[in-house]
Symmetry: C2
Subunit: 271 residues, 2 copies
């Protein structure tokens, strides 16, 4: 097995089988560029960090193990790179706390999974800095991602226990923005449950102002841009502007703790 795309992924070592208490999962996985066949014996695998060990022993464990090079498979998140090397697919099972009383996934849970797969896509790209989805170039320039627009079309809500495949990919949006799309399908039938598209812009974390995309950042992310679109532009429904004659008004809203993002910015200011 080549370790080409595994430099910062956990390495796997085999250990003898113990029927009473298996140390870990029994997954095998295949790396692109690896040998054509891989044998799995009566063994199992578990992860140990590989960060330039000394005398065969692993060095200090970096807990999150963020890769600095592009990865093609993430065995723990069940993610793989698709679409000629620029897209990301993750397989997830709908969890018990992600559904409502009708056992269907809530919209909130769908949005959570969209965020999660987006971040894991960046994780796999090797571009992830320490921040939440920010690249190294963005961190250098104190920039963070801000979602300025999002559209989710749900044809059918997945239910508790259902196996989903979530595809995501990115494209250019104007001069300074990025489009990110998603498709959520049934792993079993291939039926599309939901499609989503979003526009991302950059905000300076210090000045709290939107920023142009620095050339340095464009160079990092533009190789990942493709034109594929989950939702055709024409189908975007315009939302009417609201005025004081609105039927229902909920005024005096305040930002509560839960509305503050991990980057401590107030999402209401930027929508």
């Amino acid at each position: 097995m080549t370790t080409l795309s595994l430099s910062y992924l956990p390495s796997f070592r085999t250990t003898s089988f113990n029927d009473n208490d298996i140390r870990s999962m029994v997954w095998g996985y295949k790396i692109f560029g690896a040998s054509n066949t891989m044998k799995m014996g009566r063994t199992m695998m578990y992860a140990t960090p590989v960060t330039k060990g000394v005398n065969g022993k692993p060095a200090v464990v970096e807990r999150t193990m963020i890769p600095t090079q592009k990865q093609f498979v993430d065995p723990f998140r069940q993610g793989i790179i698709i679409l000629d090397g620029v897209g990301y697919r993750q397989t997830v099972v709908v969890r018990s706390y992600e559904v409502g009383p009708d056992k269907a996934v809530t919209l909130q849970s769908i949005l959570n999974l969209l965020q999660e797969t987006a971040l894991n896509h960046v994780w796999m790209s090797g571009l992830l800095g320490d921040g939440f989805g920010a690249t190294h170039g963005m961190m250098k320039n104190n920039l963070i991602w801000v979602v300025s627009r999002m559209q989710v079309q749900v044809d059918q809500y997945p239910i508790w226990g259902e196996i989903l495949e979530i595809d995501t990919w990115v494209g250019a949006s104007g001069k300074n923005g990025m489009r990110r799309d998603w498709e959520i399908r049934s792993h079993t039938t291939g039926i599309v449950f939901a499609r989503a598209t979003s526009t991302w812009v950059m905000m300076n974390q210090k000045t709290r102002r939107l920023s142009k995309m620095p050339d340095e950042v464009r160079a990092e992310i533009s190789p990942w841009f493709i034109n594929k679109q989950a939702i055709k532009e024409e189908s975007v429904e315009k939302i009417d502007k609201l005025d004081d004659n609105a039927k229902y008004i909920n005024s005096g809203l305040q930002v509560v703790k839960q509305s503050i993002s991990l980057k401590f910015h107030d999402p209401l200011n930027i929508m």
Copy 2:
């Protein structure tokens, strides 16, 4: 590969490799009792439901595919049966929306994962009825589970991206209750992050009263009971009874929609 423990799990068929857009994950997995070695070629696998197909075609897809027999491995949830066949272990990666601003898992997320692994344990047992964790015998008697006591000891909070192993198992609690314990460890280092224990009793869904455990249900679940305890009894800290002299009082609390369980019972009534 034997299909002994796969009767209601998705079956896997191989398809030819397509570099452009891989149909699905490239996991292999090993079934207990299967042949000693399993070869993975330049192929990948995807799930199709097997429910007594006609002319080689799968029959109507049951979306959740709840097993009616004991399973030993769940390749999609990354779960396996441990502890001599009665415990359950699941590997999860801490997701972006499960952490707070400090990137550490929130207690709420830990509780979510405890619920999830408990339900998946029952899922694997083949005892799961249509309800949330209720066995066939419980459903026949209109009984649902109610958690009457729970203790969680967190030594260290896992962080975003960290790989966790969550073990869970059950034991007897008095005549009519069940104890369920958990241990959450770092997959990489084996360090224990958290331990938890809980007591579960049964409530009649119609009368809203706690119920004795019917012999039928005891016969279903007692083969899974073991004495292992995640937290030693002695370490349980007593919580002082509150009276009107409490320093902080938050009265007039009302049950809101989010507090109502999937079984439409009010958790405040039964605590």
